[in-house]
Symmetry: D2
Subunit: 252 residues, 4 copies
Amino acid sequence: MASSLSRPIAIIAGAGPGTGAAVARRFAQTYPVVLLSRSASSLDPLVQGINQNGGSALGLPTDVTNPENMTSTMTQIQNHFGADVSIAAAIFNVASKFSRSQFLESGPEFLDSLEATARGASNFSKAVIPLMLAEGRKDTSHGERYSPTLIFTGATAAMKGGSGLGSFAMSKFAVRALAQSLAREFGPKGIHVAHAVIDGIIATEMTKGYKDDTPDAKIDPNAIAEAYWFLHTQPRSAFTQELDLRPYCESW
Amino acid sequence: MASSLSRPIAIIAGAGPGTGAAVARRFAQTYPVVLLSRSASSLDPLVQGINQNGGSALGLPTDVTNPENMTSTMTQIQNHFGADVSIAAAIFNVASKFSRSQFLESGPEFLDSLEATARGASNFSKAVIPLMLAEGRKDTSHGERYSPTLIFTGATAAMKGGSGLGSFAMSKFAVRALAQSLAREFGPKGIHVAHAVIDGIIATEMTKGYKDDTPDAKIDPNAIAEAYWFLHTQPRSAFTQELDLRPYCESW
Amino acid sequence: MASSLSRPIAIIAGAGPGTGAAVARRFAQTYPVVLLSRSASSLDPLVQGINQNGGSALGLPTDVTNPENMTSTMTQIQNHFGADVSIAAAIFNVASKFSRSQFLESGPEFLDSLEATARGASNFSKAVIPLMLAEGRKDTSHGERYSPTLIFTGATAAMKGGSGLGSFAMSKFAVRALAQSLAREFGPKGIHVAHAVIDGIIATEMTKGYKDDTPDAKIDPNAIAEAYWFLHTQPRSAFTQELDLRPYCESW
Amino acid sequence: MASSLSRPIAIIAGAGPGTGAAVARRFAQTYPVVLLSRSASSLDPLVQGINQNGGSALGLPTDVTNPENMTSTMTQIQNHFGADVSIAAAIFNVASKFSRSQFLESGPEFLDSLEATARGASNFSKAVIPLMLAEGRKDTSHGERYSPTLIFTGATAAMKGGSGLGSFAMSKFAVRALAQSLAREFGPKGIHVAHAVIDGIIATEMTKGYKDDTPDAKIDPNAIAEAYWFLHTQPRSAFTQELDLRPYCESW
């Protein structure tokens, strides 16, 4: 495993179909990628596809909202890649389940989205940042390295609430707060923390049938992946903390 | 209790010293007030003070983050004021404990503030809104009534994160998301939902000694109370959803 | 004129029908008011109404976008009230003409709104602030005085642009920028500078017929006036820099 | 000139040293570039440098704040490249002169920055958008073309005012308002309109000596250029309307 010791990895939480898969494939062009998802079944085809196409992917089913799970996941990663593995890019793409419901008719599940997302984002960040700081300390005299980058996938509801959207908006606002706070704390230490506001419907299997009459009215997950890759390649003199991504025809 | 049947109440969660007490006294000039706080000891002097000064206050120690506690609190309120009690004003002033700490050194308590505040805000809103809708439906042909008003106390950290402030900012962002969402859902039903961004240090016993060399450099809690009362009196053609409150000499 | 020497005035630019008139009447309950408008004819009935109802109003037709006009206006004010007149409240309510037009079909008038509004807001501020600083310096040991207050009327388009709204939005964004900058410069000197985001249709003669089927769906100008008066009365430990005003049934 | 007929150009207003030059060089890797600046002398070395390095640059001294100048500039462009020239990318990088001054001590020049910048941004947009719409209509069946892209360079002061910064902030707020309005009007027509918030000091000849003790504490103009190029390459299913660019060590 000598060679991998000097080679940082990328890690993606929420590596299901759609954005997560596209991001995984994009970062696998440069790094070995570790893919986290609650269900092994959603990871398998993605891992196989990357490995068959010249990349290197490791799928680890885990529940990022559980701190102990996240700790054992990091141990598995170090067992696999070596104790001195470092992280070049970490993407938190865990989906808050979008739901619209009347506030008074919602039950205790009203807070599930918030607690799962916030706890997941917090656990994930605590697990990956030490290995990102390690990456930042590495000798970069031989060959270019990009600043270690931590990206959170956000949504319109990270910017404004909506009728019936309290549960979803609380979770998205909270993740944005975390992203801003980490950016201010770890930017000076060389870690690039960014938040992407996805403002539109993403083109996935699940959204087939929506807006199909207008070409490109849904966001191509690969375009999100390219934006994340661009964020990762920014030099530290010019980090982007926040950008929006929106179809040309979306009204907002 | 015949007379109280037709008289709506105000309810304040987080009625400790400082802002909560000032708001309680201000609304007690017009309404019987119900004061919620985790500790009975912090409620007692406030309740006594209001009752001795011609107001009517009922203190109920409760943990708003616990849905069952909140349910039994509402039952106590209906037992006391009558089953048809309605709520004219509800103030959520539960303090997220402000703390600044390095992210990687924080433990599981990192999420405590978020979960307590978000759960508290959500439980409280679910409990009070039905009685606010009831207030909105009452016959107002005899004498003026103000629109039922639900106010959340926010902070600078509701608008932007900060280094070491992730925990606090997540909780404040989440409450703002809830306030915006409820405003959009219940505004059309006549409930005024507002969010106040308190941007500065509040003058309390605890903050004695800070900024004492500059007069009025700390926010007078009574000024917050007046602002909340103003929000309550706005007619429905011109609701304010958000305002900031900041000392004249604060830089921002 | 001895008595007026110690009595500050309020001044309103854009004192036409609607918001300007309502604000004039509200502030005339406490102060002599000076009303500025381009056309004398729109001032006359308002001035007469105030004077007949126990208030004191002086109407001065002037073009606030012209620095020389504004200078001579201030001279007229000092001739009338005495050289040591001071200003307790100044309201900039000059309407940017709302217009929606396709960008490529707009002519040089595209910039008219911006230049008139920005120049007007700037001229007005330069003229009134010295007399507001004078008010702040006055001996207030005998009786309460409120902090001198400068309020700018803004709109939804101060917060976000819109298709075909470039001209209007540029003017409203620019006024908001000025308000924020003056708040930060003159707040520490005791002047309260605020910006009100009017997000909805105001109920005036001109808007009769709009939304008439929903009660209170248009903003009552008197509610705006009350909000401005509330801003004026805030103590300096708790100034509001920005608030929104919006009908309960408006979607946003 | 047959070949140029099918080849779109890029046009940069404010092509002085620093950001403008870096953007010109970046876009010259793909397109013939037209460079506008008030002074020929600042254009010459840049134009020569691009032409000597395999690019194609045309420098046109012009005052973009003057509509007639801008019209004759477009005529020169069509004379040079052919009547059917189209525009793939247009960058408005005209600098509002940054200045901090006490409001009451500023003279009529207080509005110069606003009027020049706003008029410049408006004139420039009116001149280039028709040729961008033409580019969007071209047959793209042979080879990839990017969506025509109009980018405005903004600053921190586009987001918030500051003491003594009223003049600069008004101009930057106004340009942001224009960018948002044009994005909403022309996005659905396939033009990508973006606004970049440059939040930090740019490393140029002029800023030598600032923050020199911290590496990369000033923004590399080439990093801005790369970000603009990235914006240009975004597919229309995922346009970014706004991003910030800020050194890792900047506090904000």
